[in-house]
Amino acid sequence: MIDFEPTPEQKKAIKVAREFAEEQLRPVGRYYDEQEHENPQELIEKMWEKRQEDTLALGLDVTAALRIEELCWGDAGLFLCIPGPGLGGAAIFASGTKEQLTRFLGHFNEGGPKWGAMAMTEPACGSDTSAIATTAVRDGDEWVLNGEKIFVTWGKRAAENDESLVVVWATVDKSAGRAGMKSFVVPAGTPGMRVEKLEKKLGIRASDTATVIFDNCRIPFDNILGNPEVKKLDKSQTKGFKGAMATFDATRPIVAAMAIGVGRAALDFVEEALKNEGIKIRYGTPRQKLTALERDVMEMEAHYKAAKLLTLRALWMMSQFQPNNLESSMAKAKAGLAVTKITQKAVEIMGPLGYSRKHLLEKWMRDGKINDIFEGTGQINMLVTARRVLNYSRDQLK
């Protein structure tokens, strides 16, 4: 039955996340934006504690999306510091064996804070993930990894904190194209894996975005996720690549949920300011009688709602074990664009208050933009959506 009412547990999760956002994230958001790369150690410990209590656990479901909206309403950069299996975990979930799930994630919640990163992008390949150049060569009971990964979210934390991990995508056979593409789990501190630099960014500055170098980095043979075989003849055997894409089906709506949170923050800011000025948004009034300002705010609200509902649908489908490749991409494309439009419009509406670093609004505009880029740019998500609605292959629609 169609229903939009969160369960009592979900309502509680929303409330707890909102409180955490208000009390812990909002007050320090500006500081860590200005002090880029400073580690919010105290906050991370608090977040880890909450996570272990399960009040900040972030799965890949509707509840997670509802929580993430609230947390990113608080601060998207600091949200990305929350310890947990993250995108690395999502990759392991998508293509690991049961044994690997236990080995890599079974004890993840114990001990000190840890992170799971996913290293995909390279200097010469971004959206074209099948063109990666990092290699994995088998040497007896080990794989030897060589290559350079950039824009690794949580890269530094995952590569350097005890018991954290980085899932790295590499090719075992360049000539096999996508079929040769596999993912490998590299535990933090593995010799040969090092963080070379941290990016200075437009927004989400509290989040570490790292360049990770693999220089004869050796990992056990059974750290490969999925089937180690390369089946060149059968074109359909591109499980490694498909694993990467299946990960995106799960993570794209999560990124969309982040976008929605930032968009909500900007909308709340604008609406609060208008309220203080005695300006009411008159829902239900004919459009030709509305002010331009009212029309702007209503349009922002509508984009927010559209993005949110598409996101919840994509995650709901996943929880029903329905294929959601199309719906995930739709949600991500819409949410990335929505947050960009909403925050940019909000800065415009608020004028000097919007542009000033005295308020958080300008920061949200910078933070929000990332959601139209990472986990597949808006354009890549449009491309995936287009292929699905046209029933076209990669060759038919490039």
Binding site: I2, F4, G284, L309, L310, K334, V389, L390, L397
Partner: protein
């Protein structure tokens, strides 16, 4: 619990309506648009599905099903996918009967609801829109003034579907500044129905201007009696219905232009294999889905009897824009072929352009 899955019953009804839309409406919609007439036979066939009477309690002659805005949204979407003129025609009696069902007095329900449960289609309608710039449903120029045991109604209305055919009209008028409904029977002195209107779209649907000159109706004909009606809710029901219709029209245009783009060869390959076309279609698909979900959410609020003005008016404005964006692009994708009447997309563009105007012409 948040869920996007229609019930089995909803799926069944939707697929029955879809079949009707596909097998019946889609066969003749162009002819109807050109001639301005809808054959009685198709209206009668639709009537037999009991789309309105199934929501009316058995006491009033209906089948006693639960009246759900979500279910109605699904039905409306499928019908509008078939043809918008016919949809408004088929569902026109609901404009009269749903407000009475929800807000009418017991006497009004007993008297009028059985009419829409009759075996044969019986036209009944509602008059809301007024022929002037700046029309606002919440501040109507048509007025209702109490005078003894009667109301005296004065004003002008337009876009009243089936006004000439209907035996009963629900006319909305301002009474002390608030919009209220008044049941007026055909032949009431002072009620004059003008020539049929000529519109850009929904050409197969007869709509009329009408004027009310010192039109007297008994006091008991005020919708809801002394309590009156919840006009805001009526407007929200209309917004949701029109949004669902916009989704249906847009879906029709999307499917047609998508299929065309896959068949049309230019520079040696289907135009759909170019991103400039493919991305238009992707955006269309996203916006249609988003609008449908927003429609369902607003309908869900209505079903829970919650205040839904924000949701309903947001989705209404969003769907107005979406429908015109989608149908315009459909014409654009077909290029010159989209402009000629051999293809349906120009018809859908004309129909979609009307949504911002159609307040009160549909009801869930």
């Amino acid at each position: 619990m948040i869920s996007f899955s229609p019930t089995e019953e909803q799926q069944m009804i939707a697929s029955m309506v879809k079949e009707f839309a596909s097998d019946e409406m889609r066969k003749i919609y162009r002819e109807c648009d050109e001639s301005g007439e809808i054959p009685d036979s198709i209206i009668d066939t639709a009537w037999k599905m009991g789309l309105i009477s199934s929501n009316i309690p058995e006491d009033y002659g209906g089948f006693g099903g639960e009246h759900s805005a979500i279910t109605a949204s699904m039905i409306v979407e499928e019908l509008a996918w078939g043809d918008l003129s016919m949809t408004i025609h088929i569902l026109c009696p609901a404009l009269f009967s749903y407000p009475i069902l929800e807000m009418g007095t017991e006497t009004q329900r007993k008297k009028y609801l059985p009419l829409v449960c009759a075996e044969k289609y019986t036209a009944a309608t509602a008059a809301l829109i007024e022929p002037h710039f700046g029309f606002d449903p919440c501040s109507l120029l048509t007025s209702a003034r109490p005078d003894g045991n009667e109301y005296v109604i004065n004003g002008e209305k337009c876009y009243v579907p089936l006004a000439a055919e209907a035996d009963f009209l629900l006319v909305y008028a301002a009474e002390n500044g608030s919009s209220q409904g008044f049941i007026i029977e055909k032949g009431t002195k002072g009620l004059e129905i003008s020539e049929r209107e000529k519109n850009m779209g929904i050409k197969a649907l007869p709509t009329y201007e009408l004027s009310l000159k010192n039109c007297r109706v008994p006091k008991e004909n005020r919708l809801g009696g002394p309590k009156g009606c919840d006009f805001n809710r009526i407007m929200n029901c209309s917004r949701v219905a029109l949004s669902a219709m916009a989704v249906g029209v847009a879906k029709a245009a999307f499917e047609y232009s998508r299929d065309y783009a896959k068949e049309r060869i230019a520079f040696g390959e289907p135009i759909a294999s170019r991103q400039v076309i493919a991305f238009m279609l992707a955006e269309i698909a996203i916006e249609i889905d988003a609008t449908r979900l927003m429609t369902w959410e607003a309908a869900w609020k209505l079903d829970r009897k919650e205040e839904a003005t924000k949701e309903a008016s947001l989705v209404k404005a969003y769907s107005d824009d979406m429908a015109i964006m989608v149908t315009d692009r459909a014409v654009q994708i077909l290029g010159g072929h989209g402009y000629v009447r051999e293809h349906p997309v120009e018809l859908w563009l004309r129909n979609a352009r009307g949504f911002p105007t159609f307040d009160g012409m549909a009801m869930v």
